[in-house]
């Protein structure tokens, strides 16, 4: 299960890498040519095809560096590694990216950090303050902030 969820995470990461490269090229990538095989430390190997949306491994407590198999892209091979600590991705690196092209055509993945992508979720949580776009005469923000202040005042009094 754990390896599967990490595998899913690597798939997401690979998809992100591909998207980043695509954005930089302004050209399309043959998705059918991408396929990822993951070898997680001490576990069985699982295969997944690219371009799928998969959940992040937030629930698992896996740690270690996981390297995805080299992905053949239109412009050359791409390979990424993720560093997972306690089920959380803390770093993403491209260990291999196309180098046989003029440098300007490709992002140097070592120099340009990769973005992590996730699905927007709505949540409620215990917080001290809110950061949002400027609230101009936004009664909601005022009352929410005031409510937080009240709640903390109460808690501080205990």
């Amino acid at each position: 299960m754990r390896n599967k969820s990490v595998a899913a995470a690597v798939v997401v990461v690979v998809v992100v890498v591909i998207l980043v490269l695509v954005l930089h090229h302004q050209q399309t990538v043959q998705r059918s040519t991408t396929s990822v095989r993951l070898s997680a430390p001490g576990g069985p190997t699982s295969t997944a095809s690219g371009a799928s949306t998969a959940p992040t491994p937030a629930a698992s407590k896996v740690s270690g560096v996981f390297t995805g198999e080299t992905v053949a892209m239109q412009y050359g091979p791409v390979q990424v590694a993720i560093d997972v600590q306690g089920g959380k991705i803390i770093d993403v690196k491209a260990v291999q990216y196309p180098v046989d092209r003029p440098r300007s055509q490709f992002i140097n993945a070592q120099a340009v950090p990769l973005l992590r992508s996730e699905v927007l979720k709505a949540q409620s949580a215990n917080i001290d303050l809110i950061s949002g776009a400027t609230f101009t005469s936004n009664a909601f923000a005022t009352s929410l902030q005031a409510a937080i202040g009240q709640e903390q005042k109460k808690a501080a009094a205990h």
């Binding site: 950090p113 709505a122 917080i127 950061s131 776009a133 902030q145 005031a146 903390q152 501080a156």
Partner: protein, 263 residues
Amino acid sequence: MGLRQHRLEHVMGMPIGVDVCDPDIGAKTVDRVYRWLRFVDATFSTYCEDSEISRLNRGELAVEQTHPAVRSVLRRCERLRMQTDGYFDIRAPHHSARRVVVEAGPARPIDPSGLVKGWSVAGAALILDRAGARNYCINAGGDARLRGRSWNGESWRVGIQHPRIRDRLAAVLVASDVGIATSGAYERGEHIVDPHTGRPSQGVLSVTVVGPDVATADAYATAAYAMGPRGAQWCAGLKDYAAMVILSEGAVLSTPAMSRYRV
């Protein structure tokens, strides 16, 4: 736990909250913070007819005649404009739902509020620092400076407002000793425009930037928002600043440095 001051006042057309968790910091220090914020509002507001910025825009005042703080802010805005490929631009045309005001030439009015909000928070933090405060939070309508611990002895927990569901959060960050700024088009009638096209930025709902200085974070968030979806990758190249970008289609892109703040 310890004594704590919480105050919330409306300045600059928004609620500004100050929380100080040091028992040795008195109410007078917090009064000074709000006096400073009112000075910034009176000097920089484009809504106030008598502000130096309004008088500059009407040609009644030369830059050389302005308050040193105004000149300092304007110089900084110019440096940020160059640093952001022109995406942070205090001369960007204003956009409202009804009309686009595009005026050519240097006569176009300036609006430095993209920096001033964060800058006013940084100045307020300096007042608290000098008074000896070590644990506080100043939040000006979403631009915040955090230091030390909150009242419960833990790092500050910052909710990033959900861009579509107003009473929900899109993320929670835990941070200390940083500035945080969010740019977006949640509630305002006007939107951040791409200074290069004069049109509202498309494809991005909000940009949150976290880093050492809240004023810089504010300007970076404004610039990245104006860039549209490619702003996320631009943020990834920023030194010392982390960013989280929420795209219109519901994806959240975070720079690697952001993971240290996410919970």
